[in-house]
């Protein structure tokens, strides 16, 4: 194991303009928001974002002008309604939306995690989404070599970088996620580069005391960043809950055309540890 402890600024530098990027977590939970804000500060451009059910992480990057393409099963603010910047910029065509379905996106990550060019899935047949996906090259009808059953082959999704916020990590890149893991292990295996941001940096011994709790072994991780409150305003199980008030404040700012103010206050003037 070699030491891979780094800083937000340095690791965000690993993201190149135009990269295919995915994040750990789901909707308002354990998204790597500190890293997302650093990406905004670094002025990333033309990112290609992919995830199953993202929310404020994608919307913030879209609102800040970092994104040119989004592929997701659903992007929304749950009961709070539409993702405001996504809604606006998809209408003006400032971003291209490639709607997927959750399972093909998960299976695309899985194919890449397994080192396969594609993976079969069921369902999908008969949906207009399939047609769109076929056109953009993400899915293809094929027949199972044994049964002849009509299946959908989902092309591997291999992000240039996956950023995952964990509760604990050590300086070598071992990471422990507490509570729901979502597709985070799959994403880490699928991506070319993996950055873990963590609430706490603990000793390697802590991991060796409870190896069954280790979610990501060090050899899957390229860099680790100490980022306390790194998921805020999203939740981080065992550390803090979603700040639903902040979500509403975000929505209000984006809807009232005061998103620049939001960015100034919460992103550009954020004090980074």
């Amino acid at each position: 194991m070699r030491k891979v402890l780094s800083s937000l600024a340095k690791t965000a530098n690993l993201v190149a303009d135009g990269d295919l990027v995915t994040f750990g977590g789901a909707t308002f939970h354990r998204a790597p928001m500190a890293f997302v804000r650093e990406m905004v500060r670094q002025g990333k451009k033309e990112l290609n974002l992919v995830d199953r059910e993202p929310a404020i992480d994608f919307d913030l990057l879209i609102g800040a002008g970092c994104v040119s393409m989004v592929r997701a099963g659903m992007i929304a603010f749950e009961i709070f309604g539409m993702a405001p910047n996504f809604r606006r910029k998809s209408k003006t065509r400032e971003i291209i939306v490639k709607e997927g379905a959750c399972q093909p996106i998960i299976s695309g990550f899985r194919a890449a995690a397994m080192g396969l060019p594609s993976l079969p899935v069921k369902g999908m047949l008969g949906s207009d989404l399939l047609e769109i996906s076929e056109i953009v090259g993400g899915q293809k009808l094929f027949e199972d070599p044994f049964t002849g059953e009509k299946m959908i082959a989902v092309r591997a999704i291999e992000p240039d970088i996956a950023v995952i916020h964990a509760q604990k990590a050590d300086e070598f890149g071992n990471a422990r996620i507490e509570g729901p893991v979502y597709e985070d292990v799959i994403k880490a295996k699928a991506a070319k580069k993996v950055v873990v941001t963590a609430e706490e940096i603990v000793s390697n011994d802590e991991f060796r005391k409870m190896p069954e709790a280790t979610t990501l072994p060090h050899f899957l991780v390229d860099a680790v960043v100490h980022a306390p409150n790194g998921a805020y305003p999203c939740s981080c199980c065992n550390y803090y809950e979603v700040d639903y008030d902040h979500i509403e404040e975000y929505l209000k700012a984006a809807t009232d055309d005061r998103f620049d103010e939001y960015l100034k206050q919460y992103v550009h003037e954020e004090r980074v540890t």
């Binding site: 939970h29 009961i79 999908m124 989404l129």
Partner: protein, 253 residues
Amino acid sequence: MTQSIETPDLMIHAMSQEITDLDTVLHGVSSPMPVLAMSVARQTHAPDMAYISGAEGVDPDIDRIYPSSFDHRLNRKCVAYFGLHEAFDLAQRGELNVMYLGAAQIDVHGNTNLSVIGSIDDPKVQLPGGAASAFLMPITPKVVIWMTRHSTRTFVEEVDFVTGQGYDHRSDEHKKNEMVVISNLGVMNFKNPEREMQLQTRHPGYSVDEIKENTGFDLRVAPDVAETPVPDTKIVELIKSLDPDNVRRTEFG
């Protein structure tokens, strides 16, 4: 106002009735109504059902809901974690019995639209996306669609975009799977040879004609159409206690 207060609870109760004991049931994102329906079913007539939360907890002891259906507090005292990709594998194996899905539009064949209003190339409105619909609709033994705004704009002759597959967009094998639509006006299913939507029960206070008027196609009526059963006080109290902040009402805005 009485009606608008009661409709969510009536719907939640109806949604809960679609679960039979020993069913394995999953809910997705943005799903306060399904979370409540599954909780009611488990605490009343289906104590042995397998409850898989979108937040990944199995059989959690839910004391209340939150604005996010993935809030990890919904995993309180769960017995295990089961990831969405695992639940989807279960669905591919045919072992996920019931799934709840939403829709912005639905048509006579049960096609749902969660993608765009208008044309896909030049949408009037970009919708949030279909999430698991296109995957789960055809292959799940029972899909329950809940819709809180039953009108001629949401129950349409033909959806603008087929996100989730109705019966006319399915293979013969997948035509066997059941769909139930539970709206703020009534409960619909497709239990006829043509697999077209029919009204099975009307919610108290709504006549068959009123519901047909609010539907953008010629809605069939089941021969044994009846009134939707009203939940007893105990169930209403249960729902209230599980949702002290009235999260369930946000969908009725």
